[in-house]
């Protein structure tokens, strides 16, 4: 025991003396350095390492460093850090942009248009429809999208064929209303002789993306998510009540999966596993299923509704005011992040759509599956991020998770609950 103690003490002392210097910053004499913070999936799927290499090759006097952000709660540290005027990152990638509201509220980030004059030599016409708007905060360009995504319904065509839900040419029959969706789901659901469900008709992401799920459904019907005041969800109408009634019916009969209640990835994994026939989530889900189901068995269809649009959301970039080299970072965005390699490969490999129109068009030619929702994509629009968005999201979660399984809660009750929730939060 004594030996162990002594050994540990020696290790302790050694660690302090040897590595005390390790915490110090390495100085890069003369060279300019920009540091980019992003989550690991963003580094992979937007090919940031490659972008950094490209940029450094073109500008030998610049070093680009990439730091991985462990998870989203890490971003709240930046509020404190930047508030004190210091930063260890010059450019941050935000997953969904909820945090940008907080940064903007405290005036911690640059306005790309007014402060940095980003569009002077990079006109807005370069961007695809709706994508640039995903970075607006109260009308100001506080964020720039790196890539964006839209919502759609990925379907398993083989299951549609089996259930007879195809036309003469083998194309899946169109889904025009939510009643259709649930009716299809019921036909696509299979049970064994004990009544255990072996194949689920559909999955809707009732987890923490309900904001967008609901928003996209409203937008696809009315061409606008919000009511006359421009900020409250337009749910007080028969369309919403019918939709909720249909969802309730689907959930209670087992035709719609409940797995997204607790596991946000439950729907996409079930779809990938070939157990779920329709998956209403971000439209890129079909790409993940190519390996297990095969491209020929997959299709992408638009969200039911009279207007036929979809919601888009971007992975956003912000530059803290504490950064010393905002111009250089802007140059990095224009040349590297918006460069051909990152933009086209993110689209063709991972379904993360390019925000730059010319790369978007090129990539769309390469992956025809997307044409299934091309019309909806041309009408894509982002949603408003509420200030207390997290409370809103969790409130919606609860309303739907308890309401959809309940036989006593009417769609009317749920609409009322949504409106009450909406009134109680800071927008």
């Amino acid at each position: 025991m004594k030996k162990v103690l002594v050994l540990l003490l020696v290790l302790l002392i050694a660690s302090f003396t040897v590595f005390a210097a390790g915490a110090g910053e390495a100085q890069t004499g003369g060279k300019k350095t920009i540091t980019i913070g992003a989550e690991s999936w963003e580094i992979n799927k937007i090919f940031l390492e490659h972008a950094a290499q490209e940029f450094m090759a073109a500008h030998p006097d610049v070093t680009v460093e990439i730091v991985t952000i462990a998870d989203q709660t890490k971003l709240s540290n930046y509020i404190l850090d930047w508030g004190k005027g210091s930063t260890d990152v010059d450019l941050v990638f935000l997953d969904g942009g909820i945090f940008s509201a907080e940064y903007a509220a405290k005036g911690l980030i640059y306005d790309f248009e007014k402060d940095l004059h980003f569009f002077d030599d990079f006109p807005k016409s370069n961007f695809t429809a709706g994508s640039l708007e995903t970075g607006l905060r109260d009308g100001a360009q506080m964020c720039l999208p790196a890539i964006y995504e839209v919502y759609g319904i990925s379907i398993n065509k083989a299951m549609f064929k089996e259930a007879g839900l195809v036309d003469a040419e083998g194309n899946p029959l169109p889904i025009k209303t939510w009643d259709d969706f649930v009716e299809f789901a019921e036909k696509l659901t299979k049970k064994d002789k004990n009544g255990t469900i072996t194949q689920v008709g559909g999955s809707i992401q009732f987890g923490n993306n309900l904001n967008t799920i609901l928003g996209a459904a409203l937008y696809s019907q009315f061409g606008n998510v919000y009511a006359a005041d421009g900020i409250t969800f337009n749910v007080d109408n028969d369309f919403t009540r019918n939709m909720i009634r249909a969802w309730q019916k689907g959930i209670q009969s087992g035709a719609l999966s409940q797995s997204t209640f607790v596991d946000n990835a439950g729907g996409r994994n079930g779809f990938k596993a070939g157990q779920i026939a329709m998956c209403y989530e971000a439209a890129g889900r079909w790409m993940e299923a190519v390996a297990t189901i095969g491209t020929e068995n997959l299709a992408l269809i638009p969200i039911p509704g009279d207007f036929g649009g979809t919601i888009c959301f971007g992975c956003q970039m912000v530059i803290p005011k504490a950064s010393k080299n905002p111009e250089l970072v802007c140059q990095f965005i224009k040349e590297a992040v918006y460069g051909e390699y990152s933009q086209t490969n993110a689209f063709t490999t991972y379904g993360k759509m390019s925000v730059i129109q010319k790369h978007f068009d090129a990539a769309l030619e390469a992956t025809p599956m997307w044409k299934g929702i091309a019309d909806a994509m041309s009408k894509a629009k982002p949603m408003i991020t509420y200030e207390e968005s997290q409370k809103w999201l969790e409130g919606l979660d609860q309303i739907f998770q308890s309401g959809l399984v309940s036989t006593t809660t009417t769609p009317d009750d749920m609409v009322k609950q949504i409106l009450d929730l909406s009134a109680s939060i800071r927008k």
């Binding site: 209640f261 994994n269 157990q275 779920i276």
Partner: protein
Amino acid sequence: MQNTISFRKKARARWGVIFVIPTCVVLFVFVFYPICYTLVLSLNEYNFAYDMHMKFVGLKNFVDMFKDIQFLTALKNTLQFTLFMFVILVVLSLSLALLLFNKKRRSWLYRVSIFMPIVVPASLICILFSFMLADNFGIVNKFLVSIGLSGWSHNWLTDAKTARVWVIIVSVWGKVGFCTILFLSGLQNISQDMFEAAEIDGAVGWKKLIHIMIPNLTETFVVVGIWAILQCLKLFVTPNVLTKGGPANATLVMYQNIYNTAFNYFDMGYAAAQAFVLTALVMIFSLLNMKLSKGEN
């Protein structure tokens, strides 16, 4: 003689102070500022993402709490979980410790398998558990179907009742090993003489052993009790990863509610106030446990 005793007492007291000083320096100097800051926060309204300054509101946070359905749900769930988990943890680990203690030979393998779960990082293994329990492609349902019990397959985590049960099972799985170690070491501390004496008296079965063992485990019960209370009341990782508090808050616990309030809603004052309530709960239960364990003796 009286003098030497009091002199010894004084010397011992002096050494006692010297012995605890380094610990106090490390612990209290480091947390003094954070705890004071949190105390101040708990009396203020401060959303650190939007507000520039704190707003003093007195005890409003503490009063609001008991009108907040979310908090009350979390409180109720926490107490429920604590009740079940505490009993299961203590009973199971004590029985395992007794079994292992009784079985001296070849116990190596059993020890390893019971202690192994404490090695596994809880936050990661829970993701894997949620995968194993998934309704469509989880191995638990697949197993039930393959042995012909397809009627038993179930949406384990999306049904509020079974979700609660699984949160408890997974938590116990990860924690019972350490409790068993504590009990085992307590058992090993009981002197051999006592067992021999008992055996001479003709005690072979469990009953006599338990009569000797339980009374001698008082301090172990205090330590295990505190640890188990902490694990139960401060339960966080399992529900957070397994069910995220869902479905519809059925598995929301206090610690998680505090975490959400602080890191998702940025409502620092309210989070701080809730933290103090949780602390008070833990302390009350721990002191109760100490009193009860001592009383048994």
